[in-house]
Amino acid sequence: MAEKDRTDREVTLGGAALAPGDHLCVFHRGRAERDRLLIPFLTEGLRAGDAVLYLAAEGERENFRERLGHVGDLVLTEPDSGHLRDGEFAPDALFAMLDGWSRRKLGTGDHPFGRIVGDMSWAAPRLGSGLIDVLLAEEVAVTAWGQGLPQVILCLYDLDLFGGDLIIPMIKSHPKSWMAGTLVENPYYLSSTENGHHPHFERRIPS
């Protein structure tokens, strides 16, 4: 079987092995630290024939297109066509976009594996308790949605932009996180269907 056809391929982040269906919160400090993790992760996927979707921070799409070298199946977006619609977080539209991308890319046989990365910097200037709750619900829903698909998902949170009111609940609501240079698994993570914090998340999961 050719490497590009395998769904059990090796996926690594900073040297740590990830598994199909993984959804990680990645905490980094600043863009330089982010890129030291992100560029090898995306490059590894593109070279392996994975479909890659990167929801970049505002103004970074072309920069990443250049740095990733125009190779492989790479889709780059920015917040206005990713997480946001008319400047507001639009989780339903985001889910529709993610699910559509996965179905198109992973269902045809051309790309048996996918990598999705979202830079969450767009949320920093909009952050309030309401958005934190919505983001937590969104992350839980993304975990549930991604578990059945041959892909890994990373959500990038810059510690210079977000405080403990967002970061700590994110750690608690994710089965895995990347922090302080290592992969951390959460033994208390409740499966998405058991997660009591966000009882209505199911309606966000495309059928």
Partner: protein, 199 residues
Amino acid sequence: MTGSRKFGTPGVVIEPGQHICAVYVGEEDRDSILLPFLSEGLLAGEKCLFGVHEDEVAGFVDRIGEDVDDVEARVDSAQLDIRAAGDTLLSPDDFSVDRIIAFWDEAVSAAMAAGYPFVRLGAEARWWHPQLPGLTELFRYEAALNDFTSRYPQAILCMYDISRYRENIVVDLLKTHPQVLMCGVLLENPYYSAPATLV
């Protein structure tokens, strides 16, 4: 009443009574947090009492001396008190939260009596784990420290190399520490549980 102080890490400020959990990976990362923390305190005339994992602390003290003058005199005067791996307080068989808290209380009250305005107290998890019978006692101890830290003008720093644990302890650490230092950023922990709910 004593006020805010520099932690030692750029941009990080500590308040009296704080109990901070620092998560890191590896010795270089530890030193990048701990050496400035202690150096800042020594240069401010504060008492520093810390347990480290090394069997011999001379090399560690020398590294503090790269940023702090007269470090040997500060050791001789006990302003700087670094405890080595074998320099323990208790064993797992005779461990009790009350006894270890009583030891810290005595040490900090002595520092106050000696005229120090502030105490920086703490240890690497690798220093105190051999003294504890298990993780359950560890988290009871951490919770008890939250009561103790408010008694004096002091800050407590607990350092966890999170790559060293087969069990994942990060979420438990979040329950017992009001502040978390991660990647050079001090995070207020909204999920911190008050001591009475844990002990």
